[in-house]
Amino acid sequence: MNPETLLEVKGLKKYFPVRGGILSRRVGWVHAVDGINFAVKSGETVGLVGESGCGKTSVLRLIMRLMEPTSGQALFMGRDIFKMTKKKLKELRSQISMIFQDPYSSLDPRMALADIIAEPLRIHGLTKPSQKMKRVEELLEKVELSRAYMNRYPHEFSGGQKQRIGIARALAMNPRLILADEPVSSLDLSVRGSILNLLRGLQRELGLTYLYVSHDLSTVRHFCHRTMVMYLGKAVELGPTDDVYSEPLHPYTKVLMSAIPVPDPTAKVSRMSLKGEVPTPINPPSGCRFHPRCPYVSPSCSEKEPDFVEVKEGRYVACYLAQ
């Protein structure tokens, strides 16, 4: 049985112009996203991991069409998001919604809870107050917040509660796909679990699909069905989370896994050393982007970029060594 492909990204690129000089001429490009291909199946959670500058957050914003791509396609249920008219795009926004990283600034400080959650309802035409109220109550129940909070303002809530409000808002129009941009990174450790459990439960209950961006590899390990690793605007590895974590194929993935501090003082830590800094996406290295820092580098790596290919069932890598 082939689960429906909900989202398919093909050749997605986003370059930002770098301006310099008196006349603000373009002197270069920031290769924020440089040719990404992947697909997300209905009902699954795909994690996007990588360090700063890898482009993972830009990918989300492109899919949401909060930015225009330089080239490429993003097919949602078969239709290209980037070719949609304004009207269709607004409809799309009821099918795909976003959860943001910072609960403190992603809620309008001057709006009461009920208004924040009802906003998407209002935007998409559900204006009858009684209907709106009913739906808001339903949503509050789903995110386990008491109805008594309806008239309170964001600053009266804790970080975890604010994030629940953000989730309720994202669920308002019954979306198929939710893009989550580091939703628990700003929360305390003791609270993260409850939000992640909530998201999991909602996925089971409502058949949601998640695209989950994070730099925290430990959380992704337990939350995502599949994981894609990004480096400098490119996808370097993609596969079932268990496999990617226990048997990383790409050297960068291996380095990333070994870099995480181990919360066990008795464990032996064997860390792969990684030289140098994360290069800027303005002038990426030739050939394979990772080659200047790769512990397994060979001459062919600097000549031509390796393709992102499927080397085993469901496992994609962009590396000559692994192929």
Partner: protein, 281 residues
């Protein structure tokens, strides 16, 4: 303990004695203006050539002017004029400034550049000169004309502040969130950005009222105001020739302007501190 933002602002404001006093004075002035007919019946500002230039005394608290009008009553009625003109000017100014600042700050790009060049031009010219030029272009001068002229010469400053608020607010995650929900630009500006920019507008507006009162008095002093209206400036102007003989004619209205201007400034300062999230007492 209620910790809403308004409550926090109120508490901070209360602690600032100076601005609290300033606010109090303004309230008194407003009440005075409202109840002018009751406190100073119209009769007292009618021309009475039998009691010209009387010094301050039990019958005339601040004396009378060269036409026999009671100075104190004149000041009370003058407060009405000043406040009405200032309020009208403020309203016009806010409308203009918010429109320009919002569009420039939200859309940026060429629109922003053009609008900012226009504001620059007006900012560069000295306000008083500009006012004099504008007002003197008209033969018939009404209070409304003066209010409009003042609004035209002062909107750029507020527009800049509104623009900078918009520039920073539009980058806020909650604005991006609204966009991701499908909200239109207009809805985002009206529902999300404008309410959050309100505090800057309030603070600036308070201080601008002081300027408007001052400018209006200056224009009338220079003879460019509405010749018929009861105004502090005209009283000061009339008392110029009698400074040695009847000092009270110019002095008391001058004092009134000074006090109200000071009160507005203190209030504005206090409001700014109260709204500033970074100051905690």
């Amino acid at each position: 303990m209620k910790t809403g933002r308004a409550q926090i602002a109120w508490r901070k404001f209360k602690k600032n004695r100076a601005s609290f006093v300033g606010g109090g004075i303004l309230v008194i002035v407003i009440l005075m203006a409202l109840f002018a007919p009751v406190i100073a019946p119209e009769g007292r500002i009618e021309i009475d050539l039998t009691s010209t230039k009387l010094p301050p005394g039990p019958d005339h608290l601040f004396g009378t002017d060269s036409l026999g009008r009671d100075v104190a009553a004149y000041i009370i009625w003058g407060a009405r004029t000043s406040l009405m003109v200032a309020a009208t000017a403020l309203l016009l100014e806010i409308l203009l400034a918010v429109a320009v600042g919002a569009i420039a700050g939200y859309y940026r790009g060429i629109v922003d550049d053009i609008l900012m060049r226009i504001t620059d031009v007006i900012l560069v010219l000295p306000t008083i000169v500009l006012l004099v030029v504008i007002v003197s272009m008209f033969k018939v001068r009404s209070l409304f004309l003066i209010a409009a002229a003042m609004a035209i010469t002062s909107w750029p400053w507020m527009a800049r502040v509104v623009r900078s608020d918009f520039l920073s607010l539009r980058e806020q995650p909650f604005v991006e969130a609204a966009r991701s929900l499908g909200a239109s630009d207009f809805a985002i500006v009206a529902r999300h950005i404008l309410p959050n920019a309100l505090s800057s507008i309030i603070v600036l507006g308070t201080i601008d009222i002081a300027w408007f009162i001052l400018y209006q008095a200056t224009l009338t002093f220079l003879g460019l105001g509405d010749p018929v209206a009861v105004s502090w400036g005209s009283l000061i102007s009339r008392g110029r020739n009698y400074l040695g003989v009847a000092w009270w004619i110019s002095t008391f209205p001058g004092l009134a302007i000074f006090i109200v201007t000071l009160a507005c400034n203190l209030l504005g300062d206090g409001l700014r501190d109260a709204f500033d999230v970074k100051t905690r007492v």
